[in-house]
Symmetry: C2
Subunit: 325 residues, 2 copies
């Protein structure tokens, strides 16, 4: 079913996150009557939400996705709920127990609370990690999960998102709970946090150049990512809520392959640095490999939701960097 | 590290199962000094373990993989531990919450108990479900997980096994806990239980023929499974314990593709029925599709462990059927 945002009530699990802060803004701009930010607020809530917290329609709940009773209570009267609460590959590597709890059991609690409270529709933040890492070229929604030759934390993260999608399918089958699973590629933007291994590279590179050190390129710099601007991601969630589409999963991505060396050149241009990057080999950091020409085809999101990304990567990176200085 | 079975102590989580009963027998035959069968014994323990329970070396513990303290207590002094405790696709469909708890959190508790008690080696019962369903031809260990076009319970089951393997890898990396993950194909054998959607078909077909009803074939009967005899599976686990191999995953399979119509003909021959099978379309039961010519290549298990299956499917089915009459 389609959810009307004007006058509606929404709950965002993990709402004090990068995507969460932009989503809160988007819901308020479309005249939602209430936005519950359900988040342990252990991370960067103050930075990311900023002045949004002062809006009387925003209710900040120090909520734990592992507490079903608390979730059920705060889901009362909600029209649409969005689950952004998750650990990513880095978190899986540092703390696999909490990561599995939050990504799988937390999501089950989210769905159960939504079902009990007859929430009209839920949006699940899935990930392009469902395809695995070390792949290249254009990736469509029907592709399998590449497991071999990847670090255990990355595979576990991808699998946790696959299970998350299957739980949505089961709740639709068994209880007719409407949902959409949106598979985000590498999200970046203003107030970028420091928990995403891929987007973090932008910040690292920027800070190196600022210190007068050369940017670091791995291998020959042809490895590619598909970056998607956080504002475009928030807009996809809003369009997902407003759409009649249900029981489906789709890529929400830039739809464009950015080789690392191109990314570094972009950042150097913004900073005004003419330092040549240095080419280095592996250095032991958690780094998720990708093949050449990698991007996630996003035409399904256009066909189903009418969504496509609007921000160019140059402008998006400029915005991100502005919030760093 | 290699574990000496003679004089050794072993714990089998989910030990009152089809594979468990054959494994207990195998460990006792190789003069293990103690075998702890850790199992809620909610299922068919009495049937499957039978006289094995009378052996003074067998200790039956009504153990719950969700209780970490209980697991830790009973893992004390154990040389090798095997985790067979799991829900399969049918269980994921009927009870996703318990299934996810047991397959993922239960396995984490298993590994944590083994680590704390300095168990020498663990064996994880993985599954050919890590490749997904609806695939055909020869399947090797490096192949991806096919997610699309499969029922949510089957995808969630396969993903839970992938996560289980990744947790083993993390415990090896972080704590040097030796492990092998063995990916079983469709296990069948004496005292076949009624929880496995694939092997159940053998029993169904047998019972139909016995009642004078025709066997039922789906589609054109070319859909294939790779059956592996439970005694061969138990032997693979013993060889895995005794081997120096660690930090690896491999197929434990029949290594042969059996089309459904060939399987049905085999059962008809054993029963002495000349009834023609009936070809039917889908009937709404949980059924896991497979492509033509499906089998799981098992040469890696031979290279690493020296294992290969020994039971022919004809003889194996004869044995299964004998325990039904």
């Amino acid at each position: 079913m389609a959810i009307k945002i004007h006058g509606g009530k929404f709950l965002i699990a993990g709402g004090a996150s990068l995507v969460g802060s932009h989503l809160v803004k988007g819901l308020l701009a479309k005249n939602a009557s209430e936005v519950v930010v359900y988040d342990p607020v252990l991370f960067d809530a103050n930075d990311s939400l900023g002045d949004l917290k002062k809006d009387p329609r925003v209710r900040l709940v120090s909520g734990d996705v592992m507490k079903l009773h608390q979730f059920i209570k705060h889901m009362d009267g909600i029209d649409g709920a969005i689950n952004l609460a998750a650990y990513m590959s880095l978190g899986f590597s540092q703390n696999p127990w909490d990561a599995i709890d939050v990504n799988i059991k937390g999501h089950m609690n989210f769905l159960e609370s939504a079902r009990i409270n007859k929430v009209g529709k839920v949006i699940f933040a899935s990930s392009s990690a469902v395809y695995g890492f070390g792949i290249g070229g254009p990736i469509t929604e029907d592709m399998p999960h590449k497991v071999s030759d990847n670090p255990p934390s990355a595979v576990a993260y991808g699998s946790s998102k696959i299970i998350g999608e299957q739980l949505c399918r089961m709740y639709k089958q068994n209880y007719n709970l409407d949902y959409l699973a949106l598979r985000f590629s590498t999200v970046y933007g203003e107030n970028q946090h420091h928990r995403a291994a891929n987007a973090l590279y932008i910040i690292d590179t920027y800070e190196r150049l600022l210190r007068g050190e050369p940017a670091q390129l791995f291998g020959d710099g042809s490895e590619s990512k598909d970056f998607v601007y956080v504002g475009d991601v928030a807009r996809a969630i809003l369009m997902g809520l407003e759409s009649d589409a249900t029981d489906d999963a789709m890529n929400i991505s830039g739809g464009r392959s950015t080789p690392t060396k191109e990314l570094v050149a972009m950042i150097a241009k913004i900073v005004g640095s003419d330092l040549e990057p240095e080419y280095i080999q592996e250095d032991g950091r958690v780094r998720l490999k990708s093949g050449a020409g990698l991007y996630y085809v996003n035409t399904k999101a256009f066909d189903v939701l009418g969504w496509k990304p609007e921000m160019s990567i140059e402008d998006g990176i400029r915005r991100l960097i502005k919030t760093l200085s």
